[in-house]
């Protein structure tokens, strides 16, 4: 049995000072229901998650106490991917026909401050200043550049593309394109990553209405289909965030195994994908994720970026809405924003940022602490 997406909704990312994280989640659900022409009472189940916005199942206070099954999901930055995976299996199993996937968040300004105990680590690791996500992404990028001959030029081009795409995406938080020079001369935050190469913790909400594909056309003239949903965690030796030590031999990242599993489930390969969303916590990770997801060889990114291959009019458009760099990172919502954008593109509703030639296959990838990855493949 296939699983269809029949409604998509977004509460604009960025800052909504007058709304709680929960209200932004409810706003996204209402938008998705309206898009599908359905009501909250039609929903049989929901999966949702948030890091700092509260328990997702409390959304029923806003949306209605209908008695539906509502399960909270928390899986770091991969929360959205994990929620969608849970909904996908709920429908595939035949237990339910229709439900909601929702993610939302509202983070304080500045870098995240994870607490060691919540990640199974001793306090000294945080107390001595070794437990910052920004540090990890810089450390991984630094080594990757050394191993694969990537230069700062590639890091700058990723950011330039992100903010340019953000400037033509009405729902993006960062609407201002930045020049190559502005990015190249921005403050060095964690060598080799500069200010405009990092995303910022933010706010927002995203929701999807998913449905048994056999019934999708009853509700929707243009359903999209989830051909694969895969979530994987780290292997021994993979170089992950929040690791006081690493094995001497580097193993494949969880992204590699999640991606392979998803392509196998969908029965297609990277060359068949028309529009791509990759976790771009920073410009270095987008570069690494291009190869980890099978879209190029390690080291090939430098040339691809110089050629503009990942731009909207390139042959493998990545993060057409500006990704996390231009939309910010509300952890619970980000993974579902990726799906939202891919659906917009497959429906042909991208406006100024629409990928040409009628894209048919979309791909989304999230990566989160402490080494978890979620991949989805969506088709017309």
């Amino acid at each position: 049995m296939d699983v269809a997406i029949i409604g998509i909704g977004l509460h604009r990312f960025g800052r909504s000072p007058d709304m709680s994280g929960m209200q932004q989640g409810a706003s996204a659900v209402r938008a998705a229901l309206a898009d599908a022409g359905l009501a909250w009472k039609d929903m049989q189940f929901a999966y949702g998650g948030s890091q700092d916005g509260g328990n997702a199942d409390a959304l029923v206070n806003e949306l209605g106490l209908t008695g539906l099954q509502f399960t909270n999901i928390w899986n770091g930055c991969a929360t959205g991917g994990s929620s969608l995976h849970a909904a996908y299996t709920a429908i595939k199993s035949g237990e339910y026909d229709m439900g909601v996937v929702v993610g939302f968040d509202k983070h304080p300004r500045g870098a995240f401050n994870p607490q060691p105990k919540e990640w199974g680590l001793d306090e000294w690791y945080g107390e001595t200043g070794l437990m910052l996500t920004t540090q990890f992404f810089a450390l991984k990028t630094q080594r990757y550049m050394y191993d694969h001959g990537i230069t700062e030029d590639a890091l700058i081009r990723v950011s330039e593309k992100a903010f340019n795409n953000g400037s033509i995406t009405p729902t993006a938080w960062r609407q201002q394109a930045l020049s190559y020079e502005e990015i190249a001369s921005s403050t060095m935050v964690s060598d080799p990553l500069r200010k405009y190469m990092f995303c910022s913790p933010a706010e927002g909400g995203a929701a999807l209405i998913v449905c048994n594909a056999d019934k999708a056309h009853q509700y929707c003239s243009n359903p999209l289909f989830i051909k694969a949903a895969a979530v994987r965690t780290r292997h021994y030796g993979s170089f992950e965030v929040f690791s006081p030590s690493q094995a001497m031999t580097v193993a494949d990242a969880p992204t590699v195994t999640a991606s392979k599993a998803a392509f196998e489930l969908a029965g297609i390969g990277p060359e068949d994908v028309d529009v791509i969303q990759l976790q771009d916590t920073d410009s270095g990770t987008e570069i690494m994720h291009m190869a980890e997801n099978g879209f190029c060889e390690h080291g090939e990114q430098e040339k691809l970026l110089r050629e503009g291959a990942t731009q909207i009019d390139g042959r493998m458009p990545v993060n057409t809405d500006g990704g996390c760099l231009a939309n910010g990172e509300p952890v619970g919502a980000s993974g579902l924003r990726q799906i939202y954008e891919v659906c917009v593109q497959l429906r042909g509703e991208g406006g100024a940022r629409q990928v040409a030639n009628n894209p048919k296959v979309g791909y989304t990838h999230v990566y989160g602490a402490p080494g978890i990855s979620g991949v989805n493949i969506i088709t017309k």
Binding site: N113, Q142, D191, M248
Partner: protein, 143 residues
């Protein structure tokens, strides 16, 4: 009188003339971990022993922390007094890459592959006036 105490027990041998980082090694698969842990992350065995990982190594990757980390950072610095510090993974003779603070804190002082030496350094002063000691690596002085 001010005394010096480790920030956390069991991370390194100290005081000692040549302090060593402490980790664990699995008796089944021989993989090492830092800090020492009773379970092996590689094979799941609980047959591990505490071992010395060494007092020097090679820099595997590095970055520089340029802003004051939020709680639970304990250095006692403020945004005004904060001094950037290096962070890196150092390949130890004991067969594991250990994440650590680095004394060098500017890009021109750091290079992948450079030899590094373990130092036990005062990190902060606690409410009793005692200096809390932690581990860090410095560049090996050229002879």
């Amino acid at each position: 009188m001010t005394s010096q105490v480790p920030l956390h027990e069991g991370l390194f041998t100290w005081p000692a003339t040549k302090p060593q980082l402490l980790g664990s090694r699995c008796s089944q698969c021989a993989e090492a971990a830092f800090p020492a842990q009773p379970d092996c992350r590689s094979c799941g065995s609980r047959d591990t022993t505490i071992v010395e990982l060494g007092d020097h190594g090679t820099l595997w990757t590095w970055t520089i922390q340029t802003f004051l980390p939020k709680h639970p950072y304990l250095s006692g610095e403020t945004a005004d007094t904060f001094r950037p510090y290096g962070v890196g993974y150092v390949e130890m003779p004991g067969g594991v890459r250990v994440e650590a603070r680095l004394k060098p804190n500017s890009p021109d002082q750091l290079k992948i592959g450079m030899p590094m030496q373990l130092d036990i350094i005062p990190f902060c002063t606690d409410e009793n006036g005692d200096q809390r000691m932690t581990f860090a690596f410095s560049a090996v002085a050229e002879v």
